[in-house]
Every structure is written in structure tokens, then in C-alpha cells.
């Protein structure tokens, strides 16, 4: 409970900090609208040539796009800023300030930053999802909603675990900025249901970089395709990845000698 209060406190401070820069809201809104427009154009282009893509209808792919935007917003609001700061701290040697605080270091480095304006994408994703649900006409009930929330939470935790493991690599390889580009490129693939990709790529997108669980599975919940097995599998993989991330983090810390004076 203590850690939740700590996270909440950091969140509040972060939000208050960012709220000083109101103009950034409009910058973000403009960018999000451009991205949304582009996404809709692509969807229109694809469905100008076909009626379904790998078994998904237009409305269902709209749901996938909604989840993709929503999850992207969550990552850029909560996960990415913290991991970027962690990388920066390792480079500058300022990580010691976090390590000497009397709280669990992993919790601390995971909740320090929040970029609240990025959550424009969370709202945008929810709007797209609402539009998709309306177009799907009545296949959406309380069970789908619960399944969606569960799948979304599990997917978010998996992405966080992956990010933490990769970022921990900064303890050995100090310069890691290009990892960001790599992740963004791969996350781009989640715009479409992973079922359309060739086997080797689908496997990678499921287990290596869990874009499948972060985007496709929540979208399956919304479109009524989610099975109990998938959800249980997602829970199991989340547990495995969280444990692995914890171990990698601990191992990294043991190897970290500090850099500050």
C-alpha cells in the first residue's frame, strides 16, 4: 500500500509540473489528430480494395486501431518517460540519488515521471474504440468490457517488463537511445492484428515484443473473439515477464558500480 501512495504522490507532482505548460496540450492534440487522420486514411485505402483483412472487418480493425492508440498513449505517458530518465540517470551518474532513497529502487525508477499531455492519445484511443463499438452493433457487453480491461492491464504490464529489461541493459551498454527507435518501429506493427503476419514475425510479436498481447488481445476482447485460454495465457506470460524483469533488474543493480562523485 505504501508503494501505491508513493506512486500516487509522484503522479500528482508530475501532473502539477506539466500543467504549467498548457500550450503543449495543443501541440499534442494537433499531433494526435494528424496521426488519427493518417490512420483513418490508411484504413479507408485498404478497405477500398477489400472487404476484410485476415478475417477482420473494417469496424473490427477500427477497434484494433483504437487499442493501438490507447496503449501507445499509456506507454508514452507512464512507461517511456520513466525508462528514458533511467537511461539518462545511468549516463550522467545521477541514478545514485534514486538508489539511496529508502524505498524499493525498481518501484521508484518506475513511477518518477509522467507526461500527462501524452494522455491525449489515451482519450483519442477511447473515442476511436467507442466509435468501433457502435459500428459493431451490440456485440459488446459487460463481459467483453471486463475482458478488455483485464487484457489491457496485462498487456501494459508486459510492455513495462520488457522496457525495464531492455533499459537495464544501460548498466552495461551506456548509450541506448536508439532502442527507442527500434521499439517504436516494432510497436508500429501492432496497428494490425498480428494474425496477418507470417509465423516467424507473429511469434516474435507475441513472445519477444508482446505487441500481440498489448494490442491484438484487448481488441479481441472488444470484438468478442477472446477465449479464456488466451486470457489465462496472457496472465501466465505476464507473471513470467514480471519475474524476469525483477531478476534482470536485481542482477543489473549488482553489476552497477555508480558513476557519480
Amino acid at each position: 500500500m505504501n508503494y501505491l501512495r508513493l506512486a500516487w504522490l509522484y503522479l500528482r507532482v508530475g501532473v502539477l509540473n506539466e500543467l504549467q505548460y498548457r500550450a503543449n496540450f495543443f501541440v499534442q492534440l494537433f499531433q494526435s489528430l494528424l496521426a488519427l487522420g493518417t490512420g483513418l486514411v490508411v484504413l479507408g485505402l485498404v478497405f477500398g480494395h477489400t472487404n476484410e483483412l485476415g478475417g477482420w472487418s473494417r469496424a473490427e480493425l477500427l477497434a484494433v486501431m483504437g487499442v493501438h492508440i490507447l496503449m501507445g498513449g499509456l506507454i508514452r505517458t507512464m512507461i517511456q518517460p520513466n525508462m528514458e530518465r533511467l537511461m539518462g540517470d545511468v549516463q550522467r551518474g545521477t541514478l545514485d540519488y534514486a538508489l539511496t532513497k529508502p524505498a524499493d529502487a525498481q518501484v521508484l525508477v518506475s513511477v518518477r515521471e509522467v507526461r500527462i499531455w501524452q494522455s491525449v492519445d489515451v482519450l483519442m484511443g477511447l473515442l476511436v474504440l467507442a466509435a468501433a463499438v457502435l459500428q459493431l452493433q451490440g456485440r459488446f457487453g459487460i463481459w467483453q468490457a471486463l475482458g478488455f480491461l483485464a487484457a489491457l492491464a496485462l498487456g501494459g504490464l508486459m510492455i513495462y517488463s520488457l522496457w525495464l529489461m531492455v533499459t537495464t541493459g544501460a548498466f552495461w551498454v551506456v548509450r541506448m537511445e536508439n532502442i527507442l527507435e527500434l521499439f517504436e518501429g516494432i510497436y508500429h506493427a501492432g496497428r494490425w492484428p498480428v494474425g496477418i503476419y507470417p509465423d516467424w514475425l507473429r511469434t516474435g510479436l507475441t513472445f519477444l515484443v508482446p505487441v500481440a498481447f498489448a494490442v491484438t488481445v484487448p481488441a479481441e476482447a472488444i470484438t468478442g473473439r477472446l477465449t479464456a485460454q488466451t486470457l489465462i495465457g496472457a496472465a501466465a506470460l505476464t507473471a513470467v515477464m514480471m519475474t524476469a524483469a525483477r531478476m534482470v533488474w536485481k542482477f543489473g543493480l549488482r553489476n552497477y558500480t555508480g558513476a557519480s562523485a
Partner: protein, 267 residues
């Protein structure tokens, strides 16, 4: 003349040596970039299969060829980002560059042109891997291949000039990102990067002929994969020349008024 040629060669050599040092960083960047065409390729291949084999005149193998050549053209299309001007002005780098006897345009052009050789060498293994996986149908004639080499550099010049001119907007306003994002979105949709132009609605296909984007990106690809007649290739190369001149002209026109807005920073 020979002095400026010498300058270009030296600056290009410097760029090659510098960029080869950052091999790993360059590769991360390139691999991240590969995801984009692979996604488009899979989506359009899926559509083509569902439509009985072809869509917009492309088979699965033709799409593979399109998007593999895409990766080379994309690398050649990377030029000085207009966002770089913000840093140049704020950190005072520009003040130092202005003291030199040559226009900064030449420094950047030579540097990026040199970097391209590193990009091409590093691109080759990626292209081989992609070709083994996706089995493209690529069978250009000697003439098409030769035209492609010219068109590839032509696309680089077009985009380099236009984005350099666009970057000068930074001298006039501090809210540059909105302008740049609009430009990049239009480019994404209208250049052939998102999808081959022949998949676009008819009116878009007409429109893109009068904009620079396709000539920098889609046109070189179409040359190599054999979509164009010799007459179309010549027209395209002329369009590239025209847009390159247009970009240089814009820089020439805007440079003085831009500098007048510049108060030097740094020492």
C-alpha cells in the same frame, strides 16, 4: 570550381569515416526502420491474396520488390531534418558556420551525400535478408537500373533542397513543429511511402504529379521495379531536376531574409 569539388570530396570522405564509427547506432536505426515497410508489405500482400492475387496491378512478389527497394530509397531520402535548425540557432552552432567562406548549404549537402555511401553499404545485407524472406519479383533492364541510380540521387537532391528550405521557417516562428508535421503527413500519404501510388484513388494519382513528394520517393522505386515506360522515366527525371532547382531557388531566395532575423547566439 576545382576548389569546391575538392571541398565536396573531403567533406564526403569525412562523413563516411565519421558514420562508419557509429555502425551499431546506424544499424539500430535501420532495423527500426525496416518494421514500417514490412508491415505495409504484409498488409498489401494479404489484400492481394484476398483479391485473387493482384491489387492495383501488384502481385505479392511485386509488392515485395516495391517495399524492398523502398528501404533503399527511404535511406537515401534521409536528409537534414528541419528540426535541426532549432538546435543550430539556440546553441549558436550557426554563428560559427556563418563565418566560413562557403554557404552552409554546401556543408550539409556534401556531408549527407557522403553518409549515403555508408547507408548503401549497410543496407545491402538487410536487402539480401529481406529478399530471402519475401522473394521479390525484380528483373530490371540495364537501362532501368541505370535510370534508377540517377533517380535515386535525384530523389535525394529533391528532398534535401526542399527540407533545407523548409527548415528556414525556424527563423520566422518558434512554433515550427506544426508546419513540419503537416509537411511530413502530406509526404507520408502522397509520396508512395504508405502504399504504391497506383493504389490511391484516381484524383490523388493525378494530384501527386504536381507535388514534389512522389518524385523524391515513389518514382525511383517504380523505375527499378519496371512499372514505367522510357518516356515516363525521362519525364520523371526532368521533374526531379525541376524540383531540385525549385528547392535550391527557395534556399537562395529565403536565405538573406532569414539571416536578417538571426541574432547570433554563442561565441
Amino acid at each position: 570550381m576545382s576548389a569546391s569539388l575538392d571541398f565536396y570530396l573531403t567533406q564526403m570522405k569525412t562523413a563516411i569515416v565519421v558514420q562508419f564509427q557509429y555502425r551499431v547506432a546506424n544499424y539500430f536505426y535501420m532495423i527500426g526502420m525496416i518494421a514500417e515497410p514490412v508491415v505495409y508489405l504484409v498488409v498489401w500482400t494479404t489484400v492481394a491474396r484476398a483479391q485473387g492475387g493482384t491489387v492495383g496491378g501488384y502481385t505479392a512478389e511485386a509488392f515485395a520488390a516495391y517495399y524492398i527497394v523502398w528501404t533503399l530509397v527511404r535511406n537515401m531520402n534521409i536528409v537534414l531534418t528541419p528540426y535541426a535548425w532549432e538546435n543550430r540557432i539556440r546553441q549558436g552552432d550557426l554563428a560559427a558556420e556563418l563565418i566560413r567562406p562557403l554557404h552552409p548549404f554546401h556543408f550539409d549537402l556534401a556531408y549527407f551525400a557522403g553518409w549515403k555511401f555508408v547507408a548503401i553499404v549497410m543496407w545491402l545485407p538487410i536487402a539480401v535478408a529481406l529478399a530471402l524472406i519475401f522473394k521479390p519479383a525484380l528483373d530490371p533492364t540495364a537501362g532501368e537500373a541505370a535510370a534508377f541510380v540517377v533517380a535515386l540521387w535525384g530523389g535525394f537532391f529533391v528532398r534535401f533542397g526542399l527540407l533545407w528550405a523548409l527548415g528556414l521557417v525556424t527563423f520566422f516562428t518558434t512554433r515550427v513543429s506544426a508546419v513540419f508535421e503537416l509537411y511530413f503527413t502530406a509526404e507520408l500519404l502522397l509520396s508512395g511511402r504508405l502504399a504504391p501510388i497506383s493504389l490511391m484513388p484516381q484524383w490523388v494519382q493525378g494530384l501527386v504529379n504536381f507535388l514534389p513528394f512522389k518524385w523524391a520517393f515513389g518514382f525511383p522505386i517504380e523505375v527499378l521495379i519496371g512499372q514505367l515506360t522510357p518516356a515516363q522515366i525521362v519525364t520523371g527525371l526532368l521533374a526531379q531536376a525541376a524540383w531540385s532547382l525549385f528547392g535550391v531557388g527557395l534556399v537562395w531566395l529565403l536565405w538573406r531574409p532569414s539571416l536578417r532575423r538571426f541574432a547570433a547566439v554563442g561565441g
